[in-house]
Assembly symmetry: C2
């Protein structure tokens, strides 16, 4: 029993945001049934790939779900998925899609089968036109504010590599579903929930103050490299060619940085020279390069292990930079020392560290991470359990290639 | 009436993730009461700032909340906040903090006053040590995979500017609160919910397949510049010195790109030369530079307006790059043409575009965006409404500087 046990979501999804939404709910105990074409959906081969060509991305975003493989290009396949969505039960009648929600998959059509249907439609743009993380991120200002400082606006865009808008949209989708399910519990009413990825991004730019800066100050924002905008934060190279990031946002972080590096007195001298008060975050930002020039030799004289030892137990807020491989090799938080992770076996791929939900609820034991299903691994189970179909009925559907599975994800060695 | 009307959350928070959580719930109709020291909290002066020195960031992340200013360094102030948290009501008894949850603010202490208390504690690291977006992001691999391609691992880290982990953690916190509130409705039981920002980041790296790539493939991931990893996506410069990003993740996007640029036949010739199948996303990635060399002249010969006209109505997935100022000046999605935005007046700062929630619920009219409160704007209202205090009682608290407000955010012109 996990916190969302009893909820059931049927999904017809691809790529990041919508699959992440279902996976997030599955990791909290919801029964999430992903419907895919017999040969896999649009995202069945998305990179990163294992060396044998199977998608590490697909198995990452579909953990803990059940999978049914069904050909929805046929009326019979459409009817099966509709029946699954509309199947009775207090926690059921919830459908999530980011594919075109038209025809048999429209809210109007589906709700004729279950009046209290909750449907989540994750969109690119609010008007239904297509947009993905990359084509939205370019529009919202951040790429021109990322990367090495060059003092110019609107040149040298640097894209993020984390699909951040997908990630935020995915979690917000799950939030929208829970909000709608809460209302259904209180009133008995279902509804359509829409979430456009572009709106998620533009709202966040507003939430963080960047739209106001552009409008109220009539001011462009240039990249400041890796500096933390508005306080002190900078990366340093250590003697053993490692990098660390150090921040001093609060006054206490700043004081601790001075104390542990022995530079408090020199920082005071900087205050006199530059006529600033380094107790104030904005002043630390203003003379950031002068502060960095004092700190650089301290880091350059020390190895990463020395820095770690020097800051241990202090109030300095810092962290080492790591590649993905260094992360899994060095960081205890990304190992089985962290109860969020377990090494589990994903059939067809191998054994590796898999996370469960980062949310910890005191009334529930942490659920062990679960692997992703094979394509159509639960076809028979789901049809028999939710639609009370017999083995003979399912066999007939299989014969006509209306349903299928289990099969491995399609693979193409690279 | 919005979808979360009837919920009440008391929060004692700072910076991004935790305030964003409360704001997200406030925008869906919850009554969110932020408690701050009389002079403002740790984040009251965070940049970006208006030219008059007021925090655009603070007002962005506290929209639609009520504000009470109370000195919790005094036992009386602590008792007031405790009484607010524990005040009766079906939707109340929910507390959120990312400050040290010890002493009077510990879950154990607070739940003695309301047994069904739900408390959300947003942490840096799971062990309670401090970590912020910047000191976690550096550890999770992305900065070494961002920025210009250079073919080396573990050099030239490029930080993201969007505090993506804060954003994801904030929305996931709101999800955790709704999940706990759902369980309380079903069982009557409250609980402690913990969410460490570091775990959010490391889980997401796993969800997206990067941990598996590092472990199963034993392979490092280098930056590929602005290329989309594993399919085709690239930025182009137009004749009028603008930039656009074009993606071809699905086969249809790829075919439309060839059709609209008139390059289908040349793409076919590339397939023969490089012995690849450009209908497959991985092959488009493999010969990305050859594809780019064909497309570059097409974009260089056209203005942004030409590109827009050329792709209009097609299935090409693309978007222009924009600075923050270009975003508010050019993008209809970031204007009052989008019902998510309204220009509203924030006292002490001015009028600018403010977003409401990107979530759209069919049973609810979209709520108009609301401004942030002044510090302590609702001190009297909240104390009288929730604790039934009289004007005389509140006046006495004011005289002893236990409560205060309303005041403007502290300002320091820059």
């Amino acid at each position: 029993m996990n916190i969302l046990s009893g909820l059931r979501i049927v999904e017809s999804v691809a790529f990041v945001a919508a699959p992440l939404s279902g996976m997030t709910l599955a990791q909290l105990g919801a029964d999430v049934i992903r419907c895919d074409p017999l040969e896999g959906g649009l995202d069945a081969q998305r990179w990163p790939l294992a060396k044998n060509g199977r998608s590490l991305y697909w198995v990452g975003l579909n953990k803990g779900k059940r999978s049914i493989a069904v050909n929805t290009r046929t009326p019979e396949g459409q009817e099966l998925v509709t029946a699954l969505i509309a199947s009775p039960g207090e926690g059921g009648g919830i459908f999530c899609t980011n594919l075109p929600a038209t025809g048999w998959m429209s809210y109007e059509k589906l709700r004729t089968r279950r009046d209290d249907l909750i449907m989540l439609n994750v969109l690119g743009n609010a008007d239904g036109t297509s947009a993905v993380d990359y084509t939205v991120n370019c529009a919202v200002g951040f790429p021109f504010a990322t990367g090495p400082e060059h003092g110019q606006a609107a040149v040298n865009p640097v894209n993020h590599v984390l699909p951040a808008w997908d990630a935020v949209t995915g979690i917000m989708s799950a939030l929208g579903l829970l909000a709608a399910e809460r209302e259904r519990r209180l009133t008995g009413k279902g509804q359509l929930v829409r979430l456009p990825l572009a709106d998620v991004a533009m709202a966040m730019v507003g939430n963080l103050g960047w739209l106001a800066k552009a409008q109220v100050n009539d001011e462009e924002h240039f990249s400041v490299g890796n500096y933390l905008y508005g306080a002190y934060g900078c990366e340093f190279r250590t003697r053993d060619a490692r990098y660390v990031y150090v921040v001093a946002i609060t006054r206490r972080m700043w004081e601790e940085l001075g104390r542990t590096t022995g530079l408090t007195e020199k920082f005071r001298q900087l205050e006199a020279i530059y006529e600033v008060d380094l107790g104030k975050e904005g002043d630390r930002y203003r003379i950031r390069t002068a502060i960095t020039a004092l700190l650089e030799p301290w880091f350059a004289a020390r190895t990463l292990a020395d820095v770690d030892a020097g800051f241990a137990g202090s109030g300095v807020c810092w962290g080492p930079y790591r590649t993905f491989q260094q992360l899994v090799r060095e960081d205890a938080r990304c190992s089985t020392a962290n109860p969020m992770f377990k090494a589990i076996e994903q059939p067809g791929i191998g054994s590796y560290l898999v996370p469960s939900s980062p949310l910890q609820f005191s009334l529930h034991e942490r659920e062990s991470p679960r692997r992703a299903p094979m394509l159509g691994e639960h076809t028979d189970e789901v049809l028999s359990e939710l639609l009370a179909m017999t083995t003979a009925q399912i066999g007939a559907l299989r014969d006509r290639k209306i349903v299928g599975g289990p099969i491995e994800l399609p693979a193409r060695p690279h």
